[in-house]
């Protein structure tokens, strides 16, 4: 079935494996997930695409119980340190409670379904799921 990634910086290879591609400043190495005109850290105007590590450590999280209309709750929002690159994303495939989600847990990149449009194209998003049951920290 044809699919489209939720965001530009998510790519899906032939087998559907997700990868996050950042725009890296060629001068200082600062990484950005959106389109930039110049580097916010060193003002350089040139970037190159780099793949972000697919495993990381959950550095911060919250369990959102109250969100804007249309956003399903509860869900776990977090920041994952992927080998030095911070990535924003949901923590998925885990019970959304503080017994199962802890800062410092190991997580890895995975895909999540977003929906299907009128032409039958699936939009595919990403999240981070616990590694080893999420107990490692």
């Amino acid at each position: 079935m044809p699919s489209i990634p939720l965001v530009d910086y998510l790519t899906l290879d032939g087998s559907g494996e997700p990868r996050l591609i950042a725009n890296e400043c060629v001068s200082c190495g600062a990484r950005y997930f959106d389109r930039r005109n110049a580097c916010a850290a060193c003002f350089t105007r040139e970037f190159r695409p780099v793949e972000v590590a697919r495993e990381g450590v959950l550095r911060a999280f919250t369990i959102v119980h109250f969100a804007a209309e249309g956003v399903p709750v509860p869900f776990v929002a977090g920041v994952v340190d992927c080998d030095g690159t911070s990535v924003r994303g949901n923590v998925v495939n885990v019970a959304p409670d503080p017994e199962h989600v802890v800062v410092g847990m190991k997580v890895r990149l995975t895909t999540v379904p977003v929906g299907t449009d009128s032409e039958g194209i699936d939009a595919v998003g990403f999240g981070f799921e616990p590694v080893d049951g999420g107990t490692a920290r």
Partner: protein, 401 residues
């Protein structure tokens, strides 16, 4: 004579629901109160800086039509939750620049019943996926790629501090809200003046773990205004005006410098640290000289990190610092004796001047039952996400003399 700028008059309205008043009524009440407090009139004022985020553009000019149109320059400022502090700083800068010897700053907001401040509700998705915005997103990202809700963003900021230094758990964060709600019972201007137990706070409606409803700032209506004056002008005024004047020993505004991850989760730490450091240098004091602090507790999780950012505790030691009881009103460093944003309320653009009002009122010895006895030096801090940080350090005239 120094080129210091002083607060000559300052006023805040009651915070809460003002059903029968619009933003112009509230702004007028704050301004007229500040002018009366200053012993001044609109004809004395040489510059007006005004902040109102949710309302008509050109708020300052609209307000002039209610309080006096004198042809002076008006600066309409917008800096998220730091809008009030920014307005105050604009008036101070105009005086420092020598353009006038007296200025007026006002911030006002009507937010009662505004509910959760977040990105707009999920948009209707089209029939086919289309890429939009700088991430080329085919659907709304709020809730799909993390959260854009303020309680959620600030929850993560607190949890991150806990990850780095340990000890910051749900009961600890709830304890901060317990303190601020307890403080609010002495503040007749606070939107909520009710004490809560730790259990009540922890069992309140969960908004974004670990922030429950009573750990979030309260949306409400309110306004605050300040009249600032040059030292040279102040010395020509009556002895009573000089006695009640409060010296602005530091006025600093920063934005966030680039940090790894600041594009992913707002970094409210670095810019606060830089603002605090600069403010202490300007004032020629250190955090140990402060008698009280009003800091931006938009959520209980935020207050913890600012103990560290403002240098109130040893680096990395905010948890133990709070547990020591230091930040309660009878502690060695009272923080948010007004009740803070969690109970006093957070009418966004008013907050940055209302915090200064709270400090100034203690320094004048006019805070009534919640007076911090003998307060001579205080610090007011605000953060507007995006980000902007305002820090003002104030000293009583008795301290300066």
């Amino acid at each position: 004579m120094s080129d210091d700028v002083w607060i000559l008059g300052i006023h805040m309205t009651n915070f809460g629901k003002h059903r029968d008043k619009d933003t112009l009524d509230l702004g007028s009440e704050a301004v007229l109160g500040a002018l009366q407090d200053a012993g001044a009139e609109m004809r004395d004022i040489g510059v007006l800086a005004a902040g109102n985020l949710i309302g008509n553009p050109g708020y300052g000019q609209l307000l002039q039509k209610q309080i006096g149109q004198t042809g002076i320059p008006v600066y309409n400022v917008s800096n998220a939750c730091a809008t009030g502090a920014t307005a105050l700083r604009v008036a101070i800068m105009a005086i420092k620049a020598g353009e006038t010897d007296m200025g007026l700053a006002v911030g006002v907001e009507k937010l009662s019943g505004a509910g959760l401040l977040t990105g707009s509700a999920a948009k209707k998705e089209g029939a086919t996926w289309e890429r939009e915005g700088r991430f080329g997103a085919v659907a709304d990202l709020d809730g799909r790629v993390g959260t854009e809700t303020m309680p959620g963003v600030f929850a993560q900021i607190g949890m991150e501090y806990g990850h780095r230094y340990g000890g910051a758990d749900f009961p600890l964060f709830a304890g901060i809200a317990e303190k601020n709600h307890a403080h609010s019972t002495l503040n007749p201007k606070a939107a909520y003046q009710k004490r809560f137990t730790l259990d009540q706070i922890m069992n309140d409606v969960m908004i974004a773990y670990p922030n429950t409803r009573s750990m979030c700032s309260a949306n409400c209506d309110g306004a605050a205004a300040a009249v600032v004056v040059s030292e040279a002008k102040l010395r020509t005024l009556a002895p009573e005006q000089q006695r009640r004047a409060v010296k602005i020993s530091a006025s600093v505004l920063t934005s966030d410098p680039w940090q790894e991850a600041c594009q992913v989760l707002p970094d409210i730490n670095t810019l606060t640290r830089q603002a605090a450091q600069k403010a202490y240098e300007q004032a020629g004091i250190g955090p140990e000289d402060l008698d009280l602090v009003e800091l931006h507790d938009c959520f209980a999780t935020a207050e913890l990190v600012h103990y560290d950012n403002l240098g109130l505790c040893e680096p990395g030691n905010a948890v133990d610092f709070f547990k020591s009881g230091a930040t309660w009103r009878d502690g060695r460093m009272p923080v948010n004796v007004s009740g803070g944003l969690e109970s006093k309320g957070h009418p966004v653009s008013a907050t940055g001047i209302a915090n200064v009002w709270e400090i100034a009122t203690h320094l004048r010895g006019e805070a009534g039952p919640r007076q911090i006895e003998g307060a001579r030096v205080g610090l007011a801090h605000v953060i507007g996400l995006g980000s902007a940080c305002g820090v003002h350090i104030l000293e009583s005239s008795a301290k300066v003399a």
